[in-house]
Structure formats: structure tokens, C-alpha cells
């Protein structure tokens, strides 16, 4: 019974996996990673402005977000040069603690994800 189930799963999983790989997965992952880091940075800036997080936490989170964004910029240079501009905008907005700009960037990236964004 178990062996039959395992074989069935293998037969179902293999073509699904192959089809999924045909799509441009790398770019979708890059957009999604950039979108969430921008959104996380925006959330921290918002909460900091409302005094709901400590200064140490906010500073360290901002640094982590900048590090993540710099890593994503390096990846974009190699694999997705068309994302370089928006990645740089996110880095600049994070450095400036500009929550509005970060939210706008996250919104734009979400739209770029298309139907893969936040399907319900």
C-alpha cells in the first residue's frame, strides 16, 4: 500500500516538477525576494516612527535589510540586469528610512509578480 502510494506520488511529482522548471523561476524568485525585503524594511520604518519598536532593534533590522538588498543587487547584476534599477531604488529608500518609497516599490514588484503574487 505504502509502496504503491510512493510510486504514484513519484509519477505525479516528476512531470509537475519538470513543467514548473520550464517557467522563468529564477526571475520570479528574485522579484519576490526583493519585494518582501522592501516591505519588511517599510514596516520597520513605520513602526519605528510610531515608537512601537526599540531603537536598537530598528537599527539592526535596517542594517539587515540593507545587507539583504545589497546581496540581491549583486545577484541582479549577474542574472537579472533589468531589476538593477528598482533594487538600487530600494537600497536608497532603505538608507533614507523612506517608508512611503519602500511601500511603493513593494507594490510595484507585487504587480510584476502577476498571478504568482498573492493568489488566494
Amino acid at each position: 500500500m505504502v509502496r504503491k502510494s510512493l510510486l504514484l506520488l513519484a509519477f505525479v511529482a516528476a512531470p509537475l516538477a519538470a513543467r514548473a522548471q520550464d517557467l522563468d523561476s529564477g526571475k520570479l524568485i528574485a522579484i519576490r525576494s526583493l519585494r518582501t525585503v522592501a516591505a519588511e524594511a517599510a514596516l520597520v520604518v513605520d513602526l519605528r516612527q510610531h515608537g512601537r519598536v526599540t531603537e536598537t532593534y530598528a537599527e539592526e533590522m535596517q542594517q539587515d535589510a540593507e545587507d539583504e538588498l545589497n546581496g540581491l543587487r549583486k545577484q541582479a547584476e549577474k542574472k537579472n540586469p533589468d531589476l538593477l534599477s528598482i533594487t538600487q531604488q530600494a537600497i536608497d529608500a532603505a538608507k533614507a528610512s523612506d517608508a512611503r518609497a519602500l511601500h511603493a516599490i513593494a507594490d510595484k514588484l507585487l504587480a510584476m509578480e502577476g498571478p504568482h503574487g498573492r493568489a488566494d
Binding site: 523561476s25 514596516l43 512601537r52 504568482h116
Partner: protein
């Protein structure tokens, strides 16, 4: 309070297993990406780990032997060695991830350098294990890990759609999702099962039962510990998922930074909530580091027939002592290479799949064997739940690697 103290082994095992560094990000991503539709996976996996946890505690109480002893007796040498190597590797990688996670959270609290905090964390954990009796280790991390309850309180405070949450407990496949998202959903299903059933939990729990010298009269406590402890851990993980669906999803946040999850408490409760969440994370992650560090040494010592146990003084079980100290030293070395804690967790989740079937099959066979268990063999409920859970683990094990590579560790 006496009851709470009695079940600290279950609480520490479950909090360390359910809300470690992997689940903090993983459960939050599950909620943010798929709303409540993955709650059922946590529920089913919780039943499985409670069943296997109770079984391993019962076997420990009756036979005085922990899980890895039984694996050595039931598996041939080849599969036994594969299970040993894989479980030690998984434990070391997971221990490194937990030390890295603890250091990261301490950085959010203090602003000190990450590598310094990682070294201090490791030294502190080694000192705690060296000096404290097992009972006090489990009480320290079990009780302080309860600070994580702030996430459950936050869930009540933010008023989620309780009907939607309840519907999340019904097994489902969101077929309306695009193919890529459906495949990623599949990866999350498998990875949650793997993460909830991490083998180190049963190694630690059953070895803890032997450390505490459980006897047949303790079987009722064992059942209570397994059910309450794992249900509590599961409730916390589900709370994190629900909070993410309500608080993060509308803001397009799929948490990729460890510290983001703490905002689930900061949004409703401000700085107090944030500090409780961060401290809870410190104790949950460091408790998981203790579990994995000791589990690695338990596995080695029990498989190779060494003297083992924290109920012995360090010099009375020298190879066991060296094994757990070496595990922490290796884990720290991995952390100091600069590899990300979350990358480590992904590898641990996939590697643990290799060990899961080899861990739970001997357990379920021994728990059914009257030569070992006499009248304390599995009842029909334990058997049905145990075998169904085992089938689920085998299916998850088969699907894990293809799904991991196709979805690039759930990032797709």
C-alpha cells in the same frame, strides 16, 4: 504550578521543535503566502509527533532504552550507520542554525556584533549543560520558552477571521493556485511535516525519559507531557502562521529576515510585546540548540554503546561529554563561516527526511513487541495513528527532494 514543572520536558522538546528558528520564518511565510490553508498540516503533524513522542517515552519507561538504542538493535549495520551519520549531521547543522538564530536575536536586543554573540551563546550553553542537572536544564528552557505565548496572545488581540482559521484545519489542496504556487504549496506541506517531526525531538525526549529514570508508574505523566507539550508547541506555530496571514500578508511581507517575526507582537503590544517576543525567541532557539547538541551526543553514545547521560558526572561518561562539547564547537565553527541560519535550516529539513523513516519504524515495531513491552504494547488507537503517520512520513520523504530542488527551498 507543580503540574507545569512536571511537563517541562514536553514543553522544552515541543517549543524547541515547533518554534525554533526554522518555524519562526517558515510558519510565518506559510501564513503570509497561503493564508490559513496550511494549518491542517501542522495539526496532522502534531498528532503524529505526539503519538511518536508518547510511544518513545513509554518505551523508555518500560525498557529503560531510548530510541537510538532500539534503532541499533532493529536496523542492520549498514542502514544503522547511515541513520547515525545522517542524524548526527542533521543535529549539528540544526544546532548551528539555532546558535546563529539566537545570536541574531541577541543582536536585535543589544546591538553587539553577531560573531561575538554567537561565541558567547555557545559558551553559555556549554556552561549551562555542564553545570546544571538535566531536570534544571529542561525547566530553564521549558519555562522561559513560554514567553513565546505572546504570539498566541497577539493572535487573540488582532481578531483574525476565526471561521477561516477553523476551515484551515480541514485538509485541502488549493487547486486554483497557479502551477508554480501549487508546487511551492506542496513543498511547504512536506517541509512542515519534516520540521515538526525532526528526529532529534524523539531522541531528546526519550533520552530525557531515561535521564529522569521514568518507570511504568510515570506512563500517565508521559502521555500528558506528550499531548500537552506538543499541542502547546503546535498552538504557537499556528499562532505565528495566523498572525502572518493577518498582519504581514496585506503589507506584502513574506518574512525573510529572522527578526521580522517579532513584529507580530510589536504591532499589537508595542515595545513590551517586541521585547517579550525577542526574549522568548532567545530561549526557544537556545533550548533547541541544547536539544540538538545533546541529541547528537545521545545518538553517537547510544549507537556505539558508550556510557551516556547528564545524570552521570562529565568524567563518568567522558566520550559522551566530548561528543556534546564537540557538537557545539563544530556548530559554532559553521556559524562563524558566515553561512545564513535560514540556509542551514533548509538543509537540515531536507536531510532529516533521510532519517525520519529509519527513526520511527524501529520505534513503532518495538512499541508493538510484547517481548520488550509486555502489557504496555500499543493499543489499537496508537497503532492506527502510528502506522498512518508512518505512511505520511514515507510519502513526505519521497516527495521532499524533488520539491526542494524545483522550488529552490520554497522560494519559488
Amino acid at each position: 504550578m507543580g503540574g507545569l514543572i512536571e511537563i517541562t520536558l514536553g514543553i522544552m522538546t515541543a517549543v524547541g521543535g515547533f518554534v525554533d528558528v526554522s518555524e519562526m520564518v517558515f510558519a510565518a511565510q506559510a501564513g503570509s503566502r497561503f493564508v490559513f490553508s496550511l494549518i491542517w498540516v501542522f495539526a496532522i503533524a502534531t498528532v503524529a509527533i505526539a503519538v511518536f513522542g508518547e510511544m518513545s517515552g513509554r518505551v523508555a519507561a518500560i525498557t529503560k532504552q531510548p530510541v537510538f538504542n532500539l534503532m541499533r538493535q532493529r536496523l542492520d549495520l549498514g542502514p544503522g550507520i547511515i541513520a547515525l551519520v545522517a542524524s548526527v549531521v542533521v543535529s549539528i547543522i540544526t544546532c548551528a542554525a539555532e546558535i546563529g538564530g539566537t545570536a541574531t536575536v541577541l543582536k536585535y536586543l543589544t546591538g553587539w556584533p553577531y560573531s561575538v554573540l554567537a561565541a558567547l551563546t555557545t559558551l553559555a550553553l556549554v556552561a549551562i549543560i555542564w553545570t546544571l542537572p538535566f531536570k534544571w536544564i529542561e525547566r530553564l528552557f521549558g519555562l522561559l520558552g513560554l514567553l513565546m505565548i505572546v504570539f498566541a496572545v497577539a493572535t487573540v488581540k488582532i481578531h483574525p477571521d476565526w471561521g477561516g482559521v477553523a476551515r484551515g484545519f480541514i485538509p485541502q489542496v488549493p487547486v486554483s493556485l497557479p502551477l508554480k504556487d501549487l508546487v511551492t504549496y506542496g513543498y511547504f506541506v512536506v517541509a512542515i511535516i519534516s520540521a515538526v517531526l525532526f528526529p532529534y525531538e524523539t531522541y531528546f525526549y526519550s533520552s530525557g525519559g531515561v535521564e529522569e529514570q521514568w518507570k511504568p508508574k510515570d506512563l500517565k505523566v508521559n502521555r500528558l507531557v506528550a499531548i500537552v507539550g506538543f499541542a502547546l508547541g503546535s498552538m504557537l506555530a499556528i499562532s505565528i502562521l495566523v498572525n502572518a496571514a493577518v498582519l504581514f500578508r496585506p503589507l506584502h511581507v513574506d518574512p525573510s529576515i529572522v527578526g521580522t517575526s517579532a513584529l507580530q507582537a510589536a504591532i499589537p503590544f508595542g515595545r513590551t510585546g517586541l521585547l517579550m517576543a525577542l526574549l522568548g525567541m532567545v530561549f526557544a532557539f537556545s533550548g533547541a540548540a541544547v536539544e540538538t547538541g545533546l541529541s547528537s551526543a545521545y545518538s553517537l553514545a547510544q549507537f556505539l554503546g558508550w556510557e551516556w547521560g547528564r545524570f552521570r558526572k562529565p568524567h563518568e561518561a567522558p566520550r559522551f561529554t566530548i561528543a556534546w562539547i564537540a557538537t557545539f564547537a563544530l556548530s559554532l565553527a559553521i556559524v562563524l563561516t558566515g553561512v545564513q541560519a535560514l540556509d542551514l535550516v533548509e538543509w537540515a529539513v531536507v536531510l532529516s527526511i533521510v532519517v525520519l523513516p529509519a527513526t520511527y519504524l524501529p520505534l513503532i515495531l518495538i512499541a508493538n513487541d510484547r517481548k520488550y513491552m509486555d502489557r504496555h504494547v500499543n493499543g489499537p488507537v496508537s497503532n492506527v495513528l502510528g502506522w498512518v503517520s508512518y505512511a505520511m512520513i514515507c510519502i513526505a520523504a519521497l516527495a521532499a527532494l524533488p520539491l526542494y530542488f524545483v522550488t529552490q527551498g520554497g522560494k519559488l
